[in-house]
Symmetry: D4
């Protein structure tokens, strides 16, 4: 199948091999899940459409496919039901209701890696008053994952208000000049408020990896 | 010289002919100023570098060249000295100190057309607390001209907080992913906060024209 | 569902919360409509494909789904049947027959906000003589919403001919170098005729919000 | 010098070899001019800055450097002084005063090839009334070269009003969203008015070549 | 339906109103065809997918829908069957077999306007020897329409070999860096061989309009 | 059908005519295959979706359609089953499992031309240790075809480690900022490690053609 | 001067106000430095060309202008002389010698904020063996700032090899397809190796701010 | 100075370390040249403007600075004087006279590496007859480096005519839609004629490295 799974990735980098589902044939997906399940037990596949996701869930009945974030997991304890925590070392803040799939991808990945994050949803700049009640708890986090489509202004606003480093995740929510997420990505990268770094469009997974590495280093150091 | 000045523009559109200085030869600029001065008396030339601007000021000693906004005027009563008004029908709000040239271009043009605007400078989202004291007065304006470079988030924040229509002016302030103003322009166009429309990058002149037309229609109607 | 509806938006900004339908799950759409209907009664959802739109119309039988502009409304008195007014404070002018969906989105939103606009359709620059009979009435409006795809030249022509401020709406009508609306958007932004500001591609909603804010300020002031 | 001049081009294509001046060293320019002068006598070099242009004029005192269009000629009878003809088989129409260098490049090239064109300048869409008096004569031409920067709307307007085929020449006049001429180029290419074809940005030379070929074919046919 | 058909276009510009089919509802298409058929009798609709095209053919049984070029006609005498002429005043030359839909759009439009063109297909630069036998006849044409996707080199090659003016039509044939036709369009615009002008990507209609206007002017003059 | 197959291509260039399947009608594909089969016997068609591919396989039962690389062949001896060779004059190295379709397109084309390449799959920079065991054999090849999506870093790493010239093939694997393969393409083109040249996105065919030409010249010379 | 310095930024966000030097007039720069020096004593100005930088150094003789990174500081203890530390909580790794200005901007900013980083220079992927000796110490850091121009592959390679979170800084080093840093930026954003987030092109300042916030949170937590 | 020269590069990759001159300070350049001269004796620095190049030539009087290709060399035997060979294993073909700097960069680099190439200049598609006399000798080469700006059509034409693999080098010669070389680059990448691979814009160095690696492998194999 042309697959060469990286079983030592967790040891080398602190993040286990996670399967990138997009563009793989079902045959490749089945092989990858079976192989990983046999070695590292818990398995995560990202960016799966309903068709491939349901096929995996049928092939591996102990696994679950989460349609909103497009994830398949096996042997992990991912739990996406809300209410979500309003306070955690890693807080996920999303700007609009349509950003939820990306927020849940980040949420699930952090859970998969072993950290339970918090999540505050739909508090974008069109109505900033929705954000302010959450600020005190947000400001206590170690790292923020801030998710926004359209003009992507929420990371800038938060970076000007609190001392927590922010991983910005631009989303493809919007139309026309949002350019499928290019615009919020560019906006976050050129923010006038320092303390923001950015991952790929819709990349909840990448933000979770980065945040988990930051949290892991902290724990390692403080011991 | 290939020039065909539009002497009836003020009557047709409410905005008199203003000379676009960039890319014109000195010969063309002298001809245009002389011609307009002879007809409509007050003359405005925009987007003039120091070299062309000073040449005009030498040729027409009664005129003045303003280097920061790159404007030359003759027979008008433009006055750019601060303190600027904190309250006016048309309020200009700028995000950063480096946006001043564009803010002053808008300011001077409105004065040239016959309206004295207000101006609040350097209140961008990196420190939103600088904006809040001005909100009550800003919220009484008829129209806001909101100027921002980098990620261009200030119009979004203001549109979510007050009922005044906003003309966003993206600026070329920034570097790298600000793409010489393309990024704040795209961001303003795809804002999640409704009530914003946008003019060209660094186009203080265009924002002033639009705002003046809005103010003019209002007065006409109320009489 | 990750939704946090902004019930105070109308009071703060003069424009009530309108649901952005694209990218939301049916579950999210039902929740949003039910929630808003319970609070502010009249509800508007924009950018809905036929599938989601009809599902909403089935779930809320008192509501209506308008397929051409992709809108769902509840408890409002939107009426899109023509003949449309040829004279109004806010006039909508569209360039081509294929721009009608965007024109009707702007039309419906203004009605939803409480203003009945006028609408003149298919008077683009390929046959300018179609525009001229409407000029006298157009010139009396307080604000124009001018909609055009392809090269987007209509706002420039109108701005040179009348004193009314123009909100340009570029559309994705065209192919190849129209770049899904990027070209008319860039063209409107760099118009040589002053008095134009621009909203996002196909954004009839945004143009209506801006125009309504302009009209509201005028009324407030004249009282 | 790495040069291989195409002496048979005039015979093959009807357009003699013209030297592209940009990016050539002075050594290369001198060699090219000397070589061509020895063979086909009349010589034209385009896109020359003042430095290279004056060097050529000094080296070949019988030649002339025209600074506005950036051209050097030898042994031809180019004459750029106005008044220009208002009627001709090939009419050049330019939108703004700053488009003059491109208009004169087209003008000079047509003269060099043996045709005397007409030229009407600064009649862009910001004041269309300036165009209308010229329409009757323009409509009698065999081909129009229509030059415009910024939003490039003039070709669309003309194509809707007269039966003459139009070669659109976008110019780099403008700033910000005019994207150095990309915007008027895209706009002309996606015009809703049929009968327009387009050449490179600022390419007065190319428009003249195309127009001359059209005129030549006509003459050939009518004999 | 928001339609305002331009019945006087043929008289003004020499090209009758042709309906742009893309993005119009079936209701709009039926109305437009019925309206035009009642006035100018022969009707042409372009850019129609199979669904809309077949619906028109069913509604108007005397009309015909041509699926390859996506055209519907009524009361005209379009005939696309080959063999096509190898010699004509307007010659259409296409580079690859997959460019045929665009070539036939140009072919049909010229026939609709009243001129029978020639057509030589699949003679692109990957095998230039296929082009050479056609050169003598091609070189006698009054105008060439040269159609190419991918790198779009065929117009350059032809412009260097013959004295006929060339209208280049870039096509969306290709993938990856052909950028849906942007690359051949840019290539044709920046050709080193003079005598080429360019229309929109896949725009056989536009090339035919331009060519027909050129041919019409020629005939007018020679009488 | 507008087809003009290039039967002499193999003789002129060393690479026989291969049919580009995308955008051709079934009628055109059948004609092309029948025509080529009658002349040069072995036939290859690239870039075929399942629908067109299966139609060809049904029409020509002796042929085979390979769905993963989207190829149809007739009378050749293409064999894509692994294990693949780990050593060969032309080695194909692919970065991720999802790049397999492109790797197999290159593989099949080389086989079709008469060379059996090697293939090492899924050894991208996320886990470079997977590459190192293959380095000694890779370093003995005459040419490498290195395939990578996302950031496209694998060619850079290999070019820094071994003396074999590399043909980089960027793929459209990825999302967001991978820009459908534009990003790895740009990255490979601007590599800091010399010895890389690049073909079109997903263009396994083009890489195979180039590599085969390199191998052919070598053999010719050494005799 | 239109300046409104944010004196409370250090308290709110942990990062004191730093003056963005580009595009400010000398008058504005003098005012800003004087104002900040009077309040928070130590002052940092970024992105200063030699002209403005030397003017500041002359106006404030106790300050220093560092030409390579384009920084001016007053009352801080920035020291850029090497040898630099090979081990630190925040390690800066740069790919090429020409990336030094950006590396030193990050270095100086971290020192200004109170952290002494390490720096390893010129260890890019063209010669990966230069990197390997540093890996053990690099792997002990809490955060890496990895700086690369051209194809920007170094962050990917490092992320695959060690567990430290990486802030990627794309630089404008390169030409052509490096697109002034857009290419390495896109490449870092779409890396196949998880654990990377990205800041603006050439933005050593932004990387330092983000890293310092990460380090600060860690210290706060461990106490 | 932040430099870490890669002394083992020649052994690993067959191409010795060559200094990238752009963006390095004079201090860095002097250090690099001195260091390399001490180890590998012959030194090459690329992409040097006249200022830096002359400074190097003054510091190292035995070295030479070649202004046209912007190269500095020490202890090598580079000789750029023409006549150049018309036949060689590696033939450099350039389209226009203004492409000479890139052609000479490739020429000098190949000489530096130990191979004397041939060079045929100014034979672009505007006058293809200039190319044909050279075809027999060109067709005997092992590899072609084909250099073209503007529309970059020359590699396509050559790939259709001869069996030699082609390394295309797009140049920044041109203006407007040549997009500083992006257009010929895209065109070469999407050529319909197989057997072309492409390097960065103006990258004569990269083409020479690739060609030299190809030639080296051939020799190794044939022994
Ligand atoms: N058609 C539309 N175009 C642009 N913005 C819209 C549109 N419809 C609603 N919105 C705005 O989009 C914002 C985000 O939407 P939501 O995801 O519903 O919270 C809302 O607050 C609306 O102001
Ligand atoms: N295939 C086509 N490509 C470009 N323009 C077209 C095409 N077909 C028709 N048109 C033009 O598009 C204009 C706008 O179309 P409509 O929306 O039908 O008014 C018409 O006036 C036609 O001149
Ligand atoms: N997968 C492919 N990618 C790029 N070019 C191809 C591919 N397959 C075939 N070609 C080339 O595309 C050219 C044009 O295709 P055709 O339309 O079949 O004449 C052919 O001559 C082939 O050299
Ligand atoms: N080199 C830099 N890159 C990006 N942002 C910066 C840089 N230097 C300062 N800034 C930020 O830019 C913001 C706007 O700058 P100012 O115009 O000085 O108010 C400041 O608040 C800083 O946070
Ligand atoms: Mg919301
Ligand atoms: Mg500030
Ligand atoms: Mg119409
Ligand atoms: Mg004018
Ligand atoms: Mg073919
Ligand atoms: Mg993998
Ligand atoms: Mg180095
Ligand atoms: Mg030449």
């Amino acid at each position: 199948q042309g697959l060469n799974l990286d079983m030592r990735r967790g040891i080398r980098t602190g993040i286990p091999e996670v399967v990138f589902g997009a563009g793989k044939s079902k045959k490749q997906l089945f092989t990858a899940v079976k192989h990983l399940a046999g070695r590292q037990q818990k398995v995560l596949v990202t960016r799966l459409g309903a068709d491939a996701g349901n096929a995996l869930a049928q092939e591996f009945p102990e696994g679950r496919y989460f349609e909103v974030p497009g994830l398949f997991e096996l042997n992990s304890s991912i739990d996406l039901d809300h209410p979500w925590n309003g306070e955690a070392e890693a807080m996920i803040i999303s700007a609009g209701g349509a950003d939820l799939p990306v927020a849940l991808e980040a949420y699930a990945c952090l859970e998969f890696f072993g950290h339970t994050p918090g999540l505050v949803s739909d508090v974008g700049v069109a109505g900033l008053h929705r954000l302010f009640p959450h600020l005190p708890k947000i400001s206590k986090a170690r790292i923020l994952i801030v998710i926004a489509g359209m003009e992507g202004a929420l990371p800038s606003v938060l970076a000007g208000l609190c001392p927590v480093p922010i991983v910005g995740v631009p989303t493809s929510v919007g139309y026309g000049t949002s350019l499928n997420g290019i615009t919020p990505m560019l906006a976050m990268l050129t923010s006038c408020a320092p303390g923001i770094s950015v991952v790929n469009i819709d990349n909840g997974f990448g933000a979770a990896c980065f945040a988990f590495k930051v949290l892991s280093r902290q724990r390692a150091e403080s011991s």
